[in-house]
Subunit: 400 residues, 2 copies
Amino acid sequence: MTDTASTPKADHLPSGFSLAGVHCGVKKNPAKEDLTLVLSDRPATAAGMYTKNKFAAAPVLLDRNRTPSAGIRAVVINSGNANACTGQRGIKDANAMCSDVAATCGVEPESVLVLSTGVIGSFLPMERIRSGIKAVANALGKDDDAIHSAARGILTTDSCTKIVHRVWREASLFGMAKGAAMIGPKMATMLGIILTDVRIHPTTAQRLLAAAVEESFHCIHVDGHTSTNDTVLLVASGASVATVTAETEAAFGELLSDACNALARSIPADGEGATHLITINIRGCHTCDDARQIAHTIANSPLVKTAIAGADPNWGRIVSAAGYADVPFDPAGLELRINGHLLFAALRPTDFAESEISASIRSEKEVTIDLSFTEGNGNARFWTTDLTSEYVRLNADYRT
Amino acid sequence: MTDTASTPKADHLPSGFSLAGVHCGVKKNPAKEDLTLVLSDRPATAAGMYTKNKFAAAPVLLDRNRTPSAGIRAVVINSGNANACTGQRGIKDANAMCSDVAATCGVEPESVLVLSTGVIGSFLPMERIRSGIKAVANALGKDDDAIHSAARGILTTDSCTKIVHRVWREASLFGMAKGAAMIGPKMATMLGIILTDVRIHPTTAQRLLAAAVEESFHCIHVDGHTSTNDTVLLVASGASVATVTAETEAAFGELLSDACNALARSIPADGEGATHLITINIRGCHTCDDARQIAHTIANSPLVKTAIAGADPNWGRIVSAAGYADVPFDPAGLELRINGHLLFAALRPTDFAESEISASIRSEKEVTIDLSFTEGNGNARFWTTDLTSEYVRLNADYRT
């Protein structure tokens, strides 16, 4: 789901950056970009949020040690191969990608971040990637073509690019993401790269990114599978005069959250085989963590997800999922609404118009599930997909 | 899955009990039993384990206060209606079922336990149930017909009865269960009722049942949905001379665990739309809780479950699911086997024969996933199903 309200134009790319995407041969289809490079014309502030999976991929291990930083010059991303479960050779290959970018662009190897997404357990085709790095460095630009080829170069099973743009004072913010599910052997990943030209301290950047990710990329769900490569980066060139200070931090943090939300939401909106994007709003829990846990339990229930696929306003599955979320609440205080219709309150289903609500689910791609509690002020919002036979078909088909 | 190795005969029913199942009209199909009664000819010891769902059904609320006990005389179970999300009227109806059984059988109302399973949110058809209680009390017996009609009377979407029988010293043990998934509006439930004629103290019975349930009924997974009515009861008439003492407790506990395992396993074996029963063995974790959490995370992954449905030995999905289970372990120590074939070790996939393993998954209904770690002695075993388009079809079809 492209954020069409603000499709970025060349003049929207934050100053200080150039970028491009090319096909180098990791993916078989020569029409598909598989290598993206982002270059900052000066040392940039960079913050990162990474998967907590114990089998974190080689590029994640590398980047984790390089952020937060005040001296990042480039980010190189390949798609089609995740460089995960590749042992010492994978680490060596990730380092070689950084060294090659450094040599080609005239920067230090330690100033380069590297991301990979795609098949796991296979070694990178390093010769192709090395030629590709030269090609993508030659292609660097700031125009629409450069932006869109870069956004395409990070995709795997996505059906479309996922980009977002925001303006803040004299600065701007451009983000691109990928992710549709974890599909094997193309074990897709969630990647997000957010570029801005504000001036910001690395510690502040890390704090604001962590907060923004907590309520955006951490609140989406397709199949509950945390990949080996999930990464969100914030890279700030500092090329504009706009500065994030103690006074302006809250405002910039809000903008960053807003951009992360737009990108995060676009991932389940493009969920594999999905026919509905489901927004789950939880209000009135004791804590936000409680609210998030209830939202996640509902999002994780195949019974809830199949009910929405079938346009079935099945209050029982939703209410009982909340009931086993292992969060304390007074059941008598729970109210459930689907698309605004009250379905359950005071421990009982209401006398709702089932066919009308079913029709409203069937006719729209988006469905809203609201649950309110009477415990406190803990709220959460979660995005997930429905579960269809098409998802099962996509993921059960034997890969050979 | 009937435990055919020990299909119970009349002479196997623990002494002191009689039972029956009849059709009273909760279910529409007159050929299907929907009311089961178990009567003990003397005050029996009873222990219970109940759902932790916040929307626990009326019968659960009642039974929780009545176990453990040394004075239970009867258990009445209806299927087709769960008496859940029915408020005060539900409590009144559950009490009325106990009172009717008490009046009909000449026992105290407080000595009767009640279980329900089926649709939630609807009130019980009390007139039919009241006539049914008279009919089922008249039908009480100890023969094969009585046993099998009783086992059928607790089923909802199950494709077969689930029964188990064991002999212990001069005593015996008979168990029956139901459960296939939570399917709405027939929000099925897991019920287990284990009868024995040993003499046992209520506190001991409760402790042994809790331990047995922990590693059996708590280690099965179809769709991860904990219902409003889940209940396992142990009822011991004490009509035999075999006694559970400090010396014999361990042996009886083992027998009880064994019976609970056989019943628990039969639930995912009958999983809705499932084509495979998956056994997940986890060995060598720091604690058993850690092992169980890893097993549950794998069992809960739709990507793992769809891969097995497609006969795909997708090591990446299994290994990465273990990796995000939020349990500490050294990834380098993990070894993964499917049906005995080593697929992953030392952080890398092995050079396994993919087509051979795929064929072994395709040709058998049972699949074994073994993961070993190098952290300690914490082990767990979990049973789950694969995830098929048929499951989605069964659960997405609009109910009207």
